[in-house]
Amino acid sequence: MRFPEALKRLDRRIIFLLIAASVALPLVWKPQFDDHATPIVQAIYDRMESLPAGSRILLALDYGPSTAPELDPMAVALVRHGIRKGHRIALFTLWPDGLGQINKITDDTIRAEFPDKRYGADYVNLGYKAGGGGAINTMMVNLKTMIPADALGALLDSLPMMAETRSLSDFSVIVSLTAGDPGLKEWIQFAGDIGGIPVMGGGTAVVAPELYPYYPQQMVGIMGGLKGASEYESALMLGYPDTERLEMAATVRMGPQVVSHVVIVLLVILGNIGYLLERKKSIRR
């Protein structure tokens, strides 16, 4: 069988196996690639750095478990950075399945790495609210109308970091990690553009291209997919060398990402060579 025919008859399961191997093997070998923050990601890091200690940050985890491999590393890096800087973080979600993500970040990162931080004073779980843009709109006018109590049922007035909070304008910055609608786009439309509150965040690689047009006028910066998360982790490790000892999920996962992309590019080139050879043959006929 000639090369073009062999390519055309190639069982797709062989391609699946190649991709699986290109992801699994680097996870075992853990190859590391140097990364650095591009300006659009560095802008997020710089904004977090420039805020005075004690600033209130609203971190909206607008995603569920299905996109956690991409967005969890961003959330972890932001929380590590924010708490190291002494900021106070309010976790919130516009997605019903985002509640689990908040609990995961609270248990695995905040409580595990910062046991001295107190719930209600340094961080708070505002839970989930339905309504997307409508919910944000209400929070712009009166936060406690929309969220009178935290996810555990405690009145916000009883929590030191939220007692004096009247609306979203009392937050220094809104960070949304988004897997679609509602998410970062709604935060820009209903909070950033109306109230002049700085909005920034991250998105899965699928939604990131939709969000880039908002940069830099309507959005401070954005992390696009796993690469964006890896860039933020690089900036964090550069600024806070003590974080190098921690597991940086996106940096580790960029190894398999790079190898699998090389395999995909090679397969695309191979497919095109086969197509050109076949075309040349048909022209000769």
Partner: protein, 225 residues
């Protein structure tokens, strides 16, 4: 539930779903149906406890619901919440053919309200401000008056790309001559955009695969492999 049991369930369901790559089979079907069922149940429970209970029942019967909605404690009943309650119930009339037409009132309210609510925000954020963002100087200079080549090129690509893309969708003129050439460039701009979006999508899918592989790796490690 112990972490080990969670790891085993996680690994088993992952392998069941991935088995579809070989061919459709009963294990895949089981995992798929389980996912649909669990998701539906989760949304229903969240919908009841996070929407209906605090936003409707807690407002109508605050003393009765104060045990599960602490903020309702000591509040007076807000009877005007009966209006959205009736609208909500009208949606259920779709279940009875004879009364299904009543659900249109609720739908009309939802469609009209959403459109009216969203229109000004989309017009401002996604149109006016976006147009404004495209109005950038083609030549960018630093404070010393020196030309910034990178920034100028970036602005040039931005402005030219937007204009060419718009001309491609402008059908009141024949796409020949100069209009044809600009429109042709517009197609290339669109192709680059689609290519970039497709590349990003590949990255997203691979990221999810990495997440699953990572999870399978943890499962294997738990067995000492």
């Amino acid at each position: 539930m112990s972490d080990t049991l969670i790891l085993w369930i996680d690994a088993a369901l992952t392998l069941m779903i991935l088995s579809f790559l070989y061919r459709d089979n009963a294990f895949y079907k089981f995992a798929e149906h389980l996912f649909v069922g669990v998701s539906a149940a989760y949304w229903m429970v969240v919908g009841f406890w996070d929407h209906l209970v605090p936003n409707l029942l807690g407002k109508l019967f605050p003393s009765l619901m104060s045990g599960v909605v602490p903020v309702a404690n000591g509040q007076a009943a807000e009877w005007h919440y009966l209006i959205p309650a009736v609208f909500g119930l009208l949606l259920l009339t779709r279940l009875v053919d004879r009364w299904a037409w009543l659900s249109r009132w609720s739908l009309a309210f939802i469609v009209g309200g959403s459109a009216g609510f969203n229109l000004p925000r989309f017009l401002d954020s996604d149109f006016i401000t976006q147009v404004q963002s495209t109005m950038v100087p083609l030549l960018v200079f630093d404070t010393g008056g020196a030309l910034l080549v990178g920034a100028s090129l970036s602005h040039l690509v931005l402005v030219a790309g937007v204009i060419c893309g718009l001309v491609y969708f402008f059908f009141s003129l024949e796409h020949d001559g100069i209009t044809g050439k600009v429109s042709r460039l517009g197609i290339y701009v669109l192709m680059v955009t689609f290519g970039a979006a497709f590349g990003y999508t590949v990255m997203a899918r691979i990221s999810l695969l990495i997440g699953r592989m990572d999870s399978l790796g943890n499962w294997l490690s738990s067995m000492g492999l």
